[in-house]
Homo-oligomer: 339 residues x 2
Amino acid sequence: MKRNITMRDIAEKLGVSNVTVSKALNDKEGVSEELKIKIKKLAEEMGYRYNTLAKAMKEGQAYNIGVIIAERFTGEHKSFYLQFYQHISKLLDEHQYSGILHILTSEDEKKLNLPRIYHDKKVDGFIILGQISKEYIGILQNIEIPIIFLDFYDDHVEIDSVITDNFYGAYEITNYLVKSGHEKIAFIGNIYATSSIQDRFLGYYKSLLEHRIKLKEDYIINDRDDNGKFIDLCIPDNLPTAFVCNCDRIAYNLINKLKSLGYNIPKDFSVVGFDNDIFASISDPKITTVEVNIEEMAKTAVKFIIEKIKDEDKKYGRVLVKGRIIYRDSVEKIEQGNN
Amino acid sequence: MKRNITMRDIAEKLGVSNVTVSKALNDKEGVSEELKIKIKKLAEEMGYRYNTLAKAMKEGQAYNIGVIIAERFTGEHKSFYLQFYQHISKLLDEHQYSGILHILTSEDEKKLNLPRIYHDKKVDGFIILGQISKEYIGILQNIEIPIIFLDFYDDHVEIDSVITDNFYGAYEITNYLVKSGHEKIAFIGNIYATSSIQDRFLGYYKSLLEHRIKLKEDYIINDRDDNGKFIDLCIPDNLPTAFVCNCDRIAYNLINKLKSLGYNIPKDFSVVGFDNDIFASISDPKITTVEVNIEEMAKTAVKFIIEKIKDEDKKYGRVLVKGRIIYRDSVEKIEQGNN
DNA sequence: CTGAAAGCGCTTACAG
DNA sequence: CTGAAAGCGCTTACAG
């Protein structure tokens, strides 16, 4: 194996010191412009590659950010967080950082095992992508490197988080349903499962409150068990005219179920979703939904984590990123009061 | 910022040298069992975290593998490679390595810009996930760290590659169609776009050859332009009875197109896909397809790249990983010769 | 079994 | 503007 080319090699060829080479290559003060150019040129010619590791060790920084996603969010057909990661990874790169994805297995989550990349000081901070257990949050808040929650939050803890404005998004899309004449509006989602679903539910509820529509218990329809596994939807006897689904996936399932029961969407029922993921576009009809601004959220999270590495006292709190309604074909305007 | 705990700190508390601590923590020879246990216990108590960076620099190894995916494969609804990456990342972790995802932008690909993580010596090797341009391959084969192609290959180059057995998979699934009575079988895919599609086409062709079915030019139906963008499918006037699609996505599109034209699938046309991705299961009817063994492929690629880092002379060549047919509802048995 | 010395490739202060 | 010295936290010979 051929030895690596180092700053010293460049320095020797030019009869200068490695310190000068270091300064030149890093565009620091203290080298004549002329020398600097000469050094850079020679470095290029010799195929010099900067050794980040050395710098990293010197500074005690790895220039890596760990991105933790719980295994249960990464199943076969759940690419949402992976897409998120893709953005994060790209943005990190622009800041001279690298992302290291860590899939947190259910076992490690239960046993509260921190990832190896933490123990090995391979990362300077963590972005936690998607809900994790309270207990795990508990140990995370005790580690000495900064962390950011992305797409969820936990109120018992003052960890900074970047979340989509679930509350407002659900509020707005429910308003839209009301404006379209609907009053009997059900919500679909396990309102105990995640803070996202909970907030979407509350946004829906706020819209009802504002419009003096009474919240009916049988209009809150559970869609998954406590492990996040989807369960069969239980449509109430007293049929609503519209459904606010906590995500497009479930809206898609609902539409198919209703269609198989002989109903027409949106003629018989209006359905709205959340996320604007693939299920919204492959559904027939295409689903009116709230688009989550993945890129903006990723950008914010990356900015925050890097700032926090530089200054550990930085605090951001809960930061909301607005989504927007994508109008499609799953909502029907109905006559007021015909229900 | 509190100083990090180092091996020296542990050593001092115990009145031994840092060398001894290093040996103990790494389970190396030359420390009494008793002392070793004492050291490990104290390290635990003091919350010592190993500094990989120092080791890495000493060894000139980063214990990171770069995974390069071309931007065009990571679009909104293309989670296939991201899923791949997820497996790779997890497997790498088991080998004490970390994966660093690099999305190669079209611009960098065109300008032949190597990723920063290469220039910064942040990775010890690369896994290239999915086809990249010949020119880019050209510069990649000149870098001094090992690389592996995953899910594609290029024959002008002796870079090791791990690919799914596209040829054999397409051959088998076409055989299945023939066995089901079909003779007028079309292939859908741009056979110049990627080596995967090309091999799938050739597998299809081999099946035809074996069954003495003539290959008809208008039965090779293009599905995308040279940039990989899907185009409208041009169904030949002389209608086939079955379609071999180069991927599930396009099989899904085809089925919808045929359905919108008033046809019934599989009554009027049989359709098979490839990949067993989400489009195969959300389609109605569900698509009979070839499942790619993502995990096995990822495992093989990870094993190979790590071996190649240890021993740069290691060669593997083109390694095929078998898939298997998933039988579903998109194929109809027809009477021989009724077409 | 234990440890002093040297070195991995940089950067940071400091001196000239 | 230029560079000698020290140090980041380990590991690898080598000596005792």
